[in-house]
């Protein structure tokens, strides 16, 4: 088992896509941060003083409950009112790069990071079929269930490694750009921890989507099939379904991924009770954080199980 794992790891990290993704990703981040830095400037002392005063005023208003409706609690994801207000009250600095946006930056780049994970996993899963090396591999290890499970483990580790590394580079580059051309004004304590947790959630979602891509690549025996089917399903099918029947969003993979990354539940916007129940009744949650984890896990487990069944049953010609 360990030997097969080491072989799969060696095979996977020898593939060209890995350094290409890392180098390409780092270059993109550097270019983006140079552009962002060029369009930013450090705030003047007067701007800082004014923003600080405005921030304190906003924060105080928020703590008095003025940012929420009468009797309304802080939204899910915030344990206390203070935690909510720390994020809700923003210092009005028009300086461009602000360190307090760091977690938001990771959320906003999560789609790109997850797509990287999908592409990497689909490539690692489909390459053996297009090169014909699956035949060779199975003449060395004929236990197919073991082969696919080990492969899933290796793909998970590599997707996690690549996405964490790139997000780490993004955090570092952003911090450097902020230090040189931005401001850390209004950054709440524990922001770095929040950002790290966001990054971990993004990588976890990328691993989940990667496993789905691996499963489809194994079933379709092709990288292209995996990418085509996955993007067709996620972008077209789920997009159309979510548009036509919003109530079904609680079963869609993309929505679940979004909830996990942002920790913001999806509310049932179609619910007509808002006016009838009165403004004090919050919208019902369509997809909460726990449900989102369950939905994503079900997709991953079902598709990997299907891939195992198909891989075990089908002839390798």
């Amino acid at each position: 088992m360990i030997d097969l794992f080491r072989s799969e790891l060696l095979r996977s990290r020898s593939r060209r896509i890995l350094p290409m993704m890392l180098v390409g990703g780092v270059l993109l981040i550097v270019v983006a941060m140079v552009i962002a830095g060029a369009n930013s400037h450090k705030p003047t002392p007067a701007q800082i003083a004014s923003a600080d005063a405005a921030f304190k005023k906003q924060f105080a208003r928020c703590m008095q409950g003025q940012f929420l409706g009468p009797g309304e609690q802080p939204p899910p994801g915030y344990a206390t009112l203070q935690e909510f207000c720390t994020e809700a009250a923003t210092p009005p600095v028009d300086a461009g790069l602000q360190f307090r946006d760091i977690a938001l930056l990771l959320e906003h780049t999560s789609t790109f990071v997850v797509l990287l994970g999908v592409a990497l996993a689909a490539s690692l899963g489909g390459a053996d079929w297009s090169a014909g090396t699956m035949t060779t591999l199975l003449t060395w290890e004929p236990r197919r269930i073991r082969v696919l499970l080990i492969r899933a483990l290796v793909v998970s580790l590599l997707v996690a490694f690549v996405t964490l590394l790139l997000q780490g580079v993004l955090l570092g580059a952003f911090s450097l750009a902020v230090a040189l051309r931005g401001t850390s004004l209004g950054a709440p304590p524990g922001l770095v921890g929040t950002a790290v947790l966001t990054g971990l959630r993004v990588s976890t979602v990328a691993v989940g989507f990667g496993l789905v891509a691996l499963a489809i690549a194994t079933i379709g025996r092709s990288t292209v099939a995996a990418l085509g089917v996955l993007f067709g399903y996620l972008v077209l099918f789920e997009g159309v379904i979510a548009g036509l029947r919003p109530s079904i969003q609680d079963r869609l993979l993309v929505r679940a991924g979004g909830v996990i990354v942002s920790r913001q539940p999806i509310y049932d916007q179609s619910h007509e009770s808002f006016s009838s129940l009165g403004p004090s009744s919050p919208l019902p949650v369509l997809l909460g954080l726990t449900e989102a984890w369950i939905v994503a896990a079900v997709y991953v487990v079902v598709l990997i199980a299907l891939a195992l069944f198909v891989f075990r049953a089908r002839d390798v010609n």
Binding site: D3, L4, R6, S7, L10, R11, S14, R15, R16, A127, A131, G132, T133, M134, T135, T136, L137, L138, T139, W140, E141, P142, R143, D315, V316, N317
Partner: protein, 307 residues
């Protein structure tokens, strides 16, 4: 007990537009331990499907297969460490070096660096081992495939058309390699449609056509199954020689620049005596050795695959 045993092996493939193609149709075969076993058949005869079944890549519809005494359907993993194989073209990662390809495979069975160097040396690829496989010639890829098959120091080798696409020099190299592997006591199961190759390397041979066994046994026995051997005679006046032999009740016909004499080789002395008595002297006399190709074509003729 044979190293490879097939009993009633049957494999059908479903056609996309309905119906079924029978690739292997009730094949019985026993491959003895040690030496080179030639597995002959025309294209589409079911050779590759049979090898894939033996390696567990394809599940047969019926029949029982054992490899090194293990039931292929349940115990293959226990013996696969003693089995090296190439199925059709050696499938390797083209962008990796030859050495890296072997390292990736070798790790599965903890094959060390010295073993990798050893097999590269054996197939004479040491100098190109660190080049990408995509820069290799077909012959080099084939040799690398054989190197991969040898990594496990296997007692059984299944080589599917190992000389396919090779130039004459490459064919000779592969032939010598197969011979030496068989001489080491390994069982080398070689499938081919190049009959002369099998004739020059195999100790035993099986011929299949349309998924069925046509003939199996030692090469000499299979060769003898084709038709009776005769004699080939060369002399200055072929027509005079034919007349003289006919007068002596020895059937002979002019065939090109030789006489084909329908007499067993052990009666060659009669031919020389009859001709010499009429002042006709031979420049050549040899047994009309039937080659495997002729036997193959004759045997498969009944299956509707011959000429």
């Amino acid at each position: 007990m044979g190293v490879i045993e097939l009993h009633g092996l049957r494999k059908e493939y479903r056609r996309i537009r309905g119906g079924r193609t029978v690739a292997v149709d009730g094949l019985d075969l026993e491959v003895p331990d040690g030496g080179v076993f030639g597995f002959l058949g025309p294209n589409g005869a079911g050779k590759t499907t049979t090898i894939r079944c033996v390696l567990g890549l394809v599940r047969p519809n019926a029949g029982h297969l054992t490899l090194l005494g293990a039931d292929v359907s349940s115990g293959l993993a226990g013996v696969i460490g003693k089995v090296g194989s190439i199925v059709e073209q050696p499938a390797l990662f083209p962008r990796f070096t030859g050495r890296r390809n072997l390292q990736i495979l070798g790790r599965i069975h903890r094959v060390g660096r010295s073993t990798i160097d050893g097999v590269l040396e054996r197939v004479r690829l040491s100098e190109r081992a660190d080049d990408a496989v995509r820069t290799y010639s077909l012959g080099m890829k084939q040799r690398l495939g054989i190197a991969a098959a040898l990594l496990k120091d296997p007692s059984v080798l299944l080589l599917d058309e190992p000389a396919n696409g090779l130039d004459p020099a490459g064919i000779v190299e592969v032939r010598e390699l197969i011979r030496s592997l068989g001489a080491e006591g390994r069982t080398v199961f070689v499938s081919s449609h190049i009959l002369s190759e099998v004739q020059q390397t195999a100790d035993q041979v099986a011929i299949i056509a349309r998924g069925r066994l046509v003939k199996a046994g030692p090469v000499n026995e299979v060769l003898a199954a084709g038709r009776a051997r005769g004699l080939v005679v060369k002399l200055a006046d072929l027509h005079a020689g034919a007349r003289v032999l006919a007068d002596a009740q020895i059937p002979a016909i002019v065939s090109g620049d030789t006489l084909s004499v329908d007499l067993p080789p052990d009666q060659a002395e009669r031919v020389t005596r009859v001709l010499a008595a009429r002042d006709l002297y031979l420049s050549e006399l040899r047994a009309d050795e039937i080659d495997l190709e002729t036997v193959f074509l004759e045997l498969t003729k009944d299956e509707g695959l011959g000429p």
